[in-house]
Symmetry: C2
Subunit: 332 residues, 2 copies
Amino acid sequence: MPELRKDPIIDRWVIISTERGKRPVFFIEEQPSFKEGVCPLCPGNEHMTPHEVFAIRQNSPPDSPGWSLRVVPNKFPALRIEGNLDKEGIGLYDKMNGIGAHEVIIETPVHGETIWDMDTASIQNIFIAYKERSLDLSKDKRFRYIMVFKNHGSIAGASLDHSHSQLIALPIVPRRVSEEINGSLSYYRYKDRCVFCDMIAQEIEDDVRVVYENELFIALSPFASRFPFEIWILPKRHESSFVMHSQGESYFFLSDCISVVLKKYLKLLNAPPYNYMFHTAAIGDKELSHYHWHIEIIPRLTKMAGFEWGTGFYINPTPPEEATTYLKETDV
Amino acid sequence: MPELRKDPIIDRWVIISTERGKRPVFFIEEQPSFKEGVCPLCPGNEHMTPHEVFAIRQNSPPDSPGWSLRVVPNKFPALRIEGNLDKEGIGLYDKMNGIGAHEVIIETPVHGETIWDMDTASIQNIFIAYKERSLDLSKDKRFRYIMVFKNHGSIAGASLDHSHSQLIALPIVPRRVSEEINGSLSYYRYKDRCVFCDMIAQEIEDDVRVVYENELFIALSPFASRFPFEIWILPKRHESSFVMHSQGESYFFLSDCISVVLKKYLKLLNAPPYNYMFHTAAIGDKELSHYHWHIEIIPRLTKMAGFEWGTGFYINPTPPEEATTYLKETDV
């Protein structure tokens, strides 16, 4: 059983995956970028994955071909779905069982196709899957947060070539999200306004860091970008939760926005590896006036991130205003 | 002039280095692991670096050969030493001039030699240099923190092959350090004890995560390790500041401890790239009862750190107890 352990000094939880238990030799030997052999995510190989928990398909039965999108439990999950949390103190340390869900969203049946190649309708399916799975997992009383993220490319942490994203349901709210929620609450108490809404208003006014916008969404280079060409996508209307709000036409506009941003990356930065992460309110939170859900997209361009992990201090060699100019000039 | 910019939602500052201003093409083209040609850090090439600010040498004049260690300003500094902070608000954003010092500690005259090859006396010189430079820079009223770190190997962010570490003097306390200081203060207020001292006591008692200890220092795998084979080195006596406390024999015991740990990495993990970072009290802080300085060492073994940056949530595939066993069994 994996464990969730808390740092005794700062409020940081880590997953210690005992079963994965990597020995030193694993790190010494060159690992292939992607696993070789038959692709377990391709149509016809449904038997190679755990049973699907969600799919968008026409008339075919579950775990058979004929789907356009499929969600399956991760075969090598970081957390386990069965069991109790069994919170425990060991001297000054805190731990609990690594209870959670870890699912893989197979975004397309076509091996080699990525979001870069998809039309808006196919991309919408991905967001619908995120929402449907989030709603389902939110019913589990043990979970406090659903973390949706995508690793594209080996450098960004993907271990399978076939286009996919992931979702982890957690019994705790991850640190970066709770810091944001707390930080935006401080601002709200002081100003009685959402800091993200204020930021969007100022960015539209200044117009030097807005990469793209449509009727409902805006893509901008954050003022204090940590990484070159980092982009955040936010709903222009105040919404604290992706899960509560997304419906109907909002999927279309979100898909349009992320499609434009990723296509700009493709063309300008030569198909870079990237990560995106959803930041949204915790499970069970009602509509929050102070928090605003968004997607953070980070192209993995630099390896200069040596001490950043240890200090939380980032050096960004490309000012976001310059990044914005380059991205705006890139037609897609 | 580079800029220091603050994220409006959470208390995170980033350095935006306008002069470095990397264009998209920089990220697309394959960069060489290390700069080619003559090594600017080798003896005889002192004219290729800015004038030295500290050196350990016998009888030779500054900026000439004959040294065993040399400290020079970084030729491509992330921050600039001249100017005022000029703190400024731009709407809801905060920024200040990127004032600071960025220095390079050239640890040895021998190209190709690393801490792995050095004797304890030579390693002591490195720590003496950290302290002397920290003391000198602490006199500058604009600075609040001296960040000492080392990137070993290209993957860990080193851009020069010749063994060196770095030091950045900052007008702010970096986030991870201030979080630790605040976290340990909360513990102190509750328990009236230092959380690090309690941790050391429990680790010695449990004896499952102690990798090495000598008279004055202990090296342990943290209970909530973020990375495989992560190690922290702490003074066993309560000390809040590396700069205030290090003297005489403590350099010997610190050098012994870090030397043993790194040699274990060398042998067990096949000379991995690594980073180390000093966490110590801020400039001007008197002796703090609640804080305890230490060094965090992270071998750069995994690239699975995709979404960690965005969530602050880590998945560690090697339990620290197992890492400890492997490291203890490795004779050096």
